[in-house]
């Protein structure tokens, strides 16, 4: 059988492509871009929450937030490992992130202004990530799907701790409740934009669905997330910042307003001070760690020479 036929047959049977299988160049490069961008998002995503670790309101919350941010670092490592199975080097991927030739999710270009934002991020941003990641567990590329299985197992605690922060604030004083509402107002629209542009604008949807890289379209995932989240917001007693939001009996789904796609495109282009700051912080963490990498290498070489 021709390599292409074999690949097509595996995809048609909804089986998995493994690292040593032949695959079309476009399939490989699409996955490299997507999985690398996912990896970059995990480690850049450590920043807005990481900034709150020293300012967490209790030792318990500090331990929880530290554990969550540590998980995100781990997600980055699972995903860099999966990207490397496609034949790229981790050092090159980091260079591409640092030189801004590869992107990360623009959700992390929004600042976390208050402690309530930490709650909203866990509840909404991790919630949207879960909606996106659960179907990716069945991605046609085996190593990516398996990394997603590990990630998804860890995400549930992320969302629950965020929701619990929101719940605590929402049941608190008027001032605390206002903090929770403010965070919801700030994070709602960016969260639903995490699923990417509408299907009508999304160039690679059809091809990526045919390849089994994507299982649902951007708009389908967005609708899932909206439907899931509205009752949760009602339980918190908070108001959704979307006047067009209402239950549509006929569709069996919530209708929602149009996000500001111009703002989204601006964020994707990485304009403004925040993206520059994220990369600066990331690069200096990498540069500051150079002596550790060099020392580890020197130590290994010394012991190899002695052996």
């Amino acid at each position: 059988m021709e390599a292409q036929d074999r690949f097509d047959a595996i995809i048609a049977a909804d089986e998995r492509i493994e690292a040593d299988d032949w695959m079309p160049d476009d399939y490989r490069s699409t996955l490299i871009r997507q999985v690398a961008q996912h990896a970059h998002s995990e480690i850049i995503g450590m920043q807005p929450e990481g900034e709150w670790i020293p300012r967490a309101p209790s030792l318990r919350r500090k331990a929880i937030l530290t554990a969550k941010v540590q998980d995100e670092a781990g997600h980055g490592l699972y995903l860099y490992g999966a990207t490397e199975t496609l034949g790229v080097e981790r050092a090159d991927l980091l260079d591409l992130l640092h030189s801004r030739k590869q992107k990360y999710s623009s959700i992390f270009n929004y600042p976390a202004l208050t402690w309530a934002d930490v709650g909203a991020i866990g509840w909404l941003v991790d919630g949207a990530a879960i909606t996106n990641q659960v179907p990716l567990c069945r991605c046609s590329y085996g190593p990516y799907g398996r990394a997603m299985v590990r990630v998804c197992k860890e995400e549930s605690f992320h969302q629950r701790q965020g929701f619990q922060i929101m719940l605590t604030l929402a049941e608190g004083t008027d001032e605390q409740k206002a903090m929770a509402q403010g965070a919801l107002d700030r994070w709602w629209w960016p969260s639903i934009m995490m699923f990417g542009p509408p299907d009508t604008e999304s160039v690679h949807n059809a091809r990526n669905m045919a390849w089994g890289i994507k299982r649902y379209t951007n708009d389908e995932l967005r609708q899932n997330f909206v439907d899931m989240t509205i009752p949760q917001a009602e339980l918190l007693g908070l108001t959704m910042p979307d006047p067009d939001l209402r239950w549509n009996e006929e569709r069996g789904h919530y209708d929602y307003g149009e996000p500001d796609w111009e703002e989204f495109m601006q964020m994707v282009r990485g304009e403004g001070e925040m993206p520059a700051q994220r990369i600066r912080v990331r690069k200096s963490a990498h540069d500051d760690g150079a002596w550790v990498r060099e020392a580890a290498e020197a130590y290994a070489q010394k012991h190899e020479a002695a052996a």
Partner: protein, 94 residues
């Protein structure tokens, strides 16, 4: 002399889409023949679609004496588990 053949650890992928899992080990003179031996020993009943062999001496393992030091610190961090967070029944599936 077969006695001096190195040992190889064998990992088998049961089917596409799942990880290679450790199945056991074989003795063989080189990687090629270790692969052959593993294939004969472990996959006679369609147990797998892919085999890896790794020289056992290349495996760096944790010391059993370090078990407590390595793994016990996780025991008192139940906040890493979803069940640590008590939520109202309506959203408890989250």
């Amino acid at each position: 002399m077969t006695g001096s053949w190195p040992m190889w650890e064998v990992f088998v992928r049961a089917r596409r889409g799942v990880d290679h899992v450790h199945f056991g080990s074989v003795h063989a003179a080189d990687g090629e023949s270790a692969l052959q031996a593993a294939r004969d020993l472990f996959t006679r009943r369609q147990e797998g679609v892919s085999i890896w062999v790794v020289r056992s001496s290349d495996v760096v393992a944790s010391d059993p004496d370090d078990e407590a030091e390595l793994f016990e610190p996780a025991a008192d961090k139940d906040y890493r588990f979803p069940t640590h967070y008590e939520l109202p029944a309506e959203v408890d599936h989250m």
